[in-house]
């Protein structure tokens, strides 16, 4: 039963409510920052990791600190501080223990922290009512939602980078090149993903 719930959340956040194509979160990295498939994949992995971690940490903060003390209106500030320090902390660790990875990820920290998908994941966990009485289940649901959201983001990003590469060869009207045609593609991709709506296991 619970496994079914988790799988539903995963499928939901990857396909049905894809962060980019349905929720329209994390759209900015779509627009030209990334041209190469490999760097898109690396950014995707970083986002998956970071969104999972954020969900893992923000959920108990809400559940044990904010909600019981009736200060849930501080959620936004608290989550921003947590996400900011988490990013800083990860950057330090990677720089110290894995310099090559740090170099590879150089442009990413700002992309990740200001990526609304990360704060979005943390907020969605709360607004979906995962903070119910069953803490363990809520925790697992949150982490699944954050992880699925990251995977969905990565999926959309990789498909998009692939299509953009092909579009470079296409005879697209001059003023439509770049961001406009990328959005046009995103719209068609979002239409295609409608096929998954209502998917139930």
């Amino acid at each position: 039963m619970e496994i079914k719930v988790i799988v539903t959340i995963l499928l939901g956040s990857i396909f049905i409510n894809n962060y980019v194509l349905a929720r329209m979160l994390g759209v900015c990295p779509f627009l030209g920052v990334l041209q190469k498939l490999d760097s898109a994949a690396v950014l995707g992995l970083a986002v998956v990791f970071f969104m999972t971690l954020t969900s893992f940490i923000t959920y108990p903060i809400y559940k044990y600190v904010l909600a019981p003390n009736n200060i849930s209106y501080l959620t936004t500030i608290a989550f921003i501080i947590v996400i900011g320090s988490l990013a800083q902390f990860m950057e330090m660790i990677i720089r110290k223990y894995c310099p090559p990875l740090f170099q590879a990820l150089e442009i990413f920290p700002p992309l990740i922290v200001t990526n609304c998908a990360v704060l979005g994941a943390a907020v969605i966990n709360i607004s979906s009512g995962f903070a119910g009485p069953d803490v363990t289940l809520g925790m697992i649901k949150s982490v699944a939602q954050g992880f699925g959201g990251g995977v969905g983001f990565t999926l959309a990003l990789i498909i998009m980078v692939g299509i953009r590469e092909r579009l470079e060869l296409a005879d697209i009207p001059e003023n439509l090149k770049g961001a406009p045609v990328t959005f046009l593609t995103a719209g068609l991709l979002a239409l295609a993903f409608f096929g998954f709506s209502g998917l139930k296991i």
Binding site: L37, I158, I159, G162, I163, E165, R166, L167, E168, L169, A170, D171, I172, P173, L176, V181, L184, T185, L188, L189, L191, A192, F193, F194, G195, F196, S197, G198, L199, K200, I201
Partner: protein
């Protein structure tokens, strides 16, 4: 660099899909001839409304193509047949009683947004007719899932099906209100509500009458999908003319059939192969697999890539049919796989003609757009 040169260069960068010397219009008109029997039959079956849809759709597509190419100051291509095909395929994907303006809106969307803004024939990422169908489904869901032709009274399913299985009349009425595909989706609930064993639904679906109707085509559904035999005849014609290859249709249909056979035998049905056949013959699978998934522009170049594409289409179709919100998944399966084609092509590179001695890496550098900038 002039427009003409640019075009030539681009044609070189895409390996030739068709090895004969046929021109684009020739290929397009061959496809139109192949689609014609199913289209003509739909007018016979559904009447004047189907003819209106097909005509409006084709005319709008040609008008849209003319207008947008004028606006973009590009040479006219309206009569190369590709717009006609898009219009025909779109109409063949609409419910017979859909209002005519939906066909017009769909054609304009398909030609302008999906095809010409992406660079026109040869550059579109998604199949225009299918993207338009998805657009119309999201815009006017009630029309797209309800404007079915009724053979008599409320019967959408098929005039040839009578209540041989002995369902109570109101249950039988409820069952025949659905298209063959929707029957699989809604039937179990209808029967469960009336305390009737669900296995009798599959008996009805796999009855000889039913399968015969599906084969001949006197069943409900969207305009062009109903007659299996005529679609197969058209497809055979395309095979003979070497317009399409076996890879995508065989793997696409095969995957749906295999998945259905496995699923229904695990479910314990007595004739899972017949239920699998029902899956193959009902809905838009044959139309999609032969006429839309095979579009050379929006499918992978290499044979291996095509096989992967077909399997992917088949799996997504089956998943949506069984567990999705829509009764039919063919349209979305093809669209999603269309989006994956650049990635499939990237990892399953076809042999590049004329550069056998080079390493693939070098060939890619030569073909990359950055080099074109240098050439300027």
């Amino acid at each position: 660099m002039t427009k003409k040169e640019k075009h030539d260069e681009l044609l070189i960068s895409h390996p030739p899909h068709i090895r004969s010397s046929e021109s684009i219009p020739r290929i397009m008109w061959t496809v139109i001839i192949a689609l014609a029997p199913a289209a003509v039959f739909s007018v016979y079956l559904f009447g004047i409304r189907a003819l209106v849809l097909i005509s409006v759709s084709v005319v709008s597509a040609v008008i849209a193509e003319t207008l947008i190419r004028l606006l973009l100051r590009k040479p006219a291509t309206s009569l190369d047949g590709s717009a006609v095909i898009t219009g025909m395929l779109l109409a063949m994907n609409l419910p017979p009683l859909a209002p005519w303006w939906m066909a017009a809106v769909g054609s304009f969307f398909a030609i302008i947004i999906v095809k010409q803004l992406f660079g026109g024939l040869g550059f579109n990422i998604f199949n225009p007719a299918l993207a338009a169908r998805a657009f119309l489904t999201a815009s006017w869901p009630a029309h797209m899932s309800g404007d079915w032709y009724r053979f008599s009274d409320m019967n959408v399913l098929s005039p040839a099906i009578n209540n041989a299985a002995g369902f109570p009349p109101e249950v039988f009425d409820a069952l025949t209100r659905a298209t063959p595909l929707a029957l699989l989706k809604e039937g179990p609930k209808i029967l469960a509500d009336n305390n009737i064993s669900v296995s009798r639904l599959y008996d009805m679906a796999t009855s000889a009458d039913m399968l015969k109707s599906l084969f001949a085509g006197n069943v409900g559904g969207v305009v062009g999908e109903t007659s299996a035999i005529l679609l197969l005849a058209g497809a055979l014609f395309l095979f003979i003319r070497k317009i399409i290859t076996w890879h995508i249709p065989v793997t696409f249909i095969g995957t749906v059939a295999a998945a259905a056979a496995v699923f229904y035998s695990l479910m314990g049905l007595s004739a899972p192969h017949l239920t699998a056949l029902y899956h193959v013959l009902s809905g838009g699978l044959l139309l999609g697999a032969f006429f839309m998934a095979t579009d050379t522009v929006t499918s992978p170049v290499s044979g291996k890539g095509k096989v992967l594409f077909g399997i992917g289409c088949g799996l997504i179709t089956f998943i949506i049919r069984m567990w999705g919100g829509y009764p039919e998944g063919v349209c979305y399966a093809i669209l999603i796989m269309n989006a994956l084609v650049p990635l499939i092509d990237r990892f399953m590179k076809p042999k590049v003609f004329g550069v056998r001695k080079m390493k693939t890496g070098e060939a890619r550098v030569l073909a990359s757009p950055k080099n074109k900038g240098v050439a300027k």
